[in-house]
């Protein structure tokens, strides 16, 4: 069983490393994720944010603008995740009013 | 007169009757009134359809779509009407008989019994009137489930095991039917029952056709009791006798052979069957079943078991007739549905009457009972003679037509099979009659004939079979109907 696990892990790592070698070169500005136009001629998010963040929200920190405005529902979800974690602590660990039966 | 709703009403009437039956579970007389009322109404509704059917017309009713392009549709065509007349007509007798039986035997949970019975009849009529495979599957499975409480009615260990066996066989069959129907739909684009079959314009490789046929054979063969997959039927004899009588002589097993006719005549079509050589397979299986079942019946001491194996054999007569793929063969098979139904129900009724009255199940215990139960044994004699094919009882004519059919198709072996099995039938029924009439009985003092509620149905069914023998067209033109159906398929 343990050998099987090791094998799966090694295989998984090998597949991923092989696949990752097929990814675009890191740091090249002309990667699709950094370009201005995508191959289907839609806007690419990253470049749009860089060019328009200050114009849209008067905020120099682009990350804040993306976080708070363009993708605000993501951030909202993130806050809800934290909120969920808090409620979970309440649910699992809080003392119940009546003691549970054994 | 607009008859378009009649098939639906005929199906629904006993289903609706379940509600008052359940509600009046505390008042037995009222409850049984509902059952009989439903049976009579159902029979009347079916009779309304007979004139049209004799003229070859069918009443179609498209209710809702069960699936896109696959409606829940009823079609009271001649074959369906033929089967429905037999099933619903015999239900009336069975109802009376059941009342006598369950009260005489003091059965428990009588409400469940009558309710299940009503559902079974709905399903049977639904099977008779199904216009396509999906509707057929629907009622076929309802019949399976509704019969289950009847099979396990005694709730003894034996009954529960029989119920499990029954479910295992019939559910598998149902699944095969589902698979087969799905394959028919994908290959031909339709699942409607069409006289002459739906494969006319479809070219399939031989193996595919063979596999499809075997799937269908497995699906309908279980209920039709063909040989390797028949063993649920003797096991299900653990059920109360009226159940064995109606369901295992009329409703369930006849649904099986009815399904064989539907599959051969209306799905595959006789031409396709012949050109792919599928009929021969069926002939071999049916012939083997007839002989083997008769031989096994010899070895049974339990009366109901012997009758069960006899049923297995006689069902294969019908299958054999269908498999001959000749008009006479088809006609003989269809006629044997009616003949076997009336005869076998008589025999089962007799067995039940003997059990309720004398609490005797085994043939070796039947010595001399003709003296205490003369009417019952007279009916039994008629029934066994009919099944053995002795003229002028109706069993003879169906066998005669079957033989004609096989000669028509230039086949001799089926005729030999028929003759041999007739002899075997005589062989396993004769000892019973001999014991009953000529051997001295023991411990029979103080017993008389069973209650009139049981004896009258027995006599009526026995007389009916004789009358049908003399005048095949006496009631409802069943003979003409059979002829028309078989001609419409060729």
């Amino acid at each position: 069983m343990k050998i099987l696990k090791v094998l799966i892990l090694v295989l998984f790592a090998a597949v991923l490393i092989y696949a990752a070698s097929d990814l675009p070169y890191r740091g090249e500005p002309d990667n699709l994720m950094h370009a201005e136009q995508s191959i289907t001629n839609t806007r690419v998010m990253g470049s749009y944010f860089i060019q328009n963040a200050y114009r849209d929200a008067r905020t120099p920190n682009m990350v804040t603008v993306v976080l708070g405005d363009y993708r605000s529902i993501d951030t909202f979800g993130e806050q809800v995740v934290i909120y969920t974690a808090g409620l979970i602590a309440l649910l699992v660990l809080r003392k119940s009013k009546r003691r549970r039966k054994k | 007169m607009d008859l378009s709703l009649v098939p639906l009403l005929a199906v629904l009437v006993s289903l609706v009757a379940v509600i008052p039956i359940l509600l009046s579970s505390d008042k037995p007389n009222l409850r049984e009134t509902w059952t009989i009322l439903a049976a009579v109404i159902k029979f009347g509704l079916v009779l309304l359809l007979v004139p049209g059917a004799i003229e070859g017309k069918s009443v179609e009713l498209h209710l809702i779509d069960l699936a896109p392009g696959m409606p829940l549709a009823l079609n009271a065509d001649p074959l369906g009407v033929y089967f429905a007349v037999i099933a619903s007509g015999l239900w009336i007798f069975t109802s009376f008989y059941s009342i006598g039986y369950v009260r005489g035997a003091g059965e428990h949970k009588q409400t469940r019994y009558f309710a299940s019975f009503a559902v079974c009849l709905s399903a049977t009529i639904g099977i008779a009137f199904s216009a396509n495979l999906l509707t057929f599957v629907l009622f076929y499975e309802i019949l399976t489930v509704a019969t289950y409480p009847l099979v396990i009615h005694n709730e003894s260990k034996e009954a529960i095991n029989a119920g499990r066996k029954y479910l295992a066989f019939t559910l598998t069959a149902g699944l095969l039917l589902v698979a087969g129907s799905a394959m028919v739909y994908i290959y031909t684009g339709t699942i409607d029952f069409t006289p002459g079959g739906v494969f006319s314009g479809v070219e399939l490789p031989h193996t595919a056709m063979l596999v499809l046929f075997i799937i269908f054979l497995g699906a309908v063969g279980v209920k039709a009791g063909i040989m390797p997959i028949h063993s649920w039927l003797p096991a299900a004899m653990a059920a109360p006798t009226p159940v064995s009588a109606l369901l295992h002589a009329v409703a369930v097993v006849k649904s099986g052979v009815f399904a064989v006719i539907r599959v051969v005549g209306y799905v595959f079509g006789t031409d396709v069957m012949a050109s792919y050589g599928l009929g021969d397979i069926l002939i071999v299986i049916a012939g083997a079943t007839i002989i083997l079942a008769s031989l096994i019946a010899f070895a049974q001491d339990n009366l109901k078991q012997r009758l069960a194996y006899s049923t297995v054999g006689h069902l294969s007569y019908i299958v054999l007739g269908v498999a001959l793929l000749t008009p006479f063969g088809m006609q003989g098979g269809i006629m044997h549905i009616a003949a076997h139904a009336t005869l076998k129900i008589t025999l089962f009724f007799c067995a039940g009457a003997i059990y309720v009255n004398l609490k005797r199940k085994n043939i070796s215990n039947l010595n001399g009972i003709a003296k205490v139960m003369p009417w019952t044994m007279a009916a039994f004699t008629i029934g066994s003679m009919g099944l053995a094919g002795i003229p002028p009882i109706n069993g003879f004519f169906s066998k005669w037509t079957l033989a004609l059919g096989s000669l028509d198709g230039d086949m001799v072996i089926p005729v030999i099979v028929l003759v041999v099995s007739g002899l075997l039938n005589v062989g396993y029924f004769f000892p019973i009659i001999y014991r009953a009439y000529f051997k001295p009985g023991e411990g029979l003092e103080g017993y008389g004939e069973a209650s009139p509620l049981m004896v009258v149905p027995i006599m009526v069914t026995a007389i009916l079979s004789v009358l049908f023998g003399f005048f095949p067209n006496l009631f409802f033109g069943l003979y003409d109907l059979a002829v028309n159906i078989s001609l419409s398929l060729f």
Binding site: G27, N61, V63 | -
Partner: protein, 81 residues
């Protein structure tokens, strides 16, 4: 992006991760995890992701560290593997 610096941090990251998984004293493991988070924050900042680095330093190294310590104190400190 200075790839030599990144490479060094990478090696230390892998080392601290392995150590955190292999020590038997859970408190040491927790400390190693905090170091791991801190190195990670450093790496993020080295890659120019200052926001992510800051967050990782505050949340990953700070708050998670405290919670980790609480867990280790509420449960057992020793590990069998």
């Amino acid at each position: 992006m200075i790839w030599e610096l990144e490479l060094i941090i990478y090696v230390f990251l892998a080392l601290s991760a392995v150590v955190a998984l292999e020590v038997t004293d859970m408190l040491v493991a927790v400390v190693m995890m905090t170091i791991f988070s801190f190195l990670m924050a450093l790496l993020f900042i080295a890659m120019g992701a200052i926001d992510v680095g800051f967050t990782e330093a505050v949340i990953g190294a700070g708050v998670t560290g405290i919670l980790f310590v609480v867990v280790v104190f509420r449960t057992s400190r020793k590990s069998n593997d």
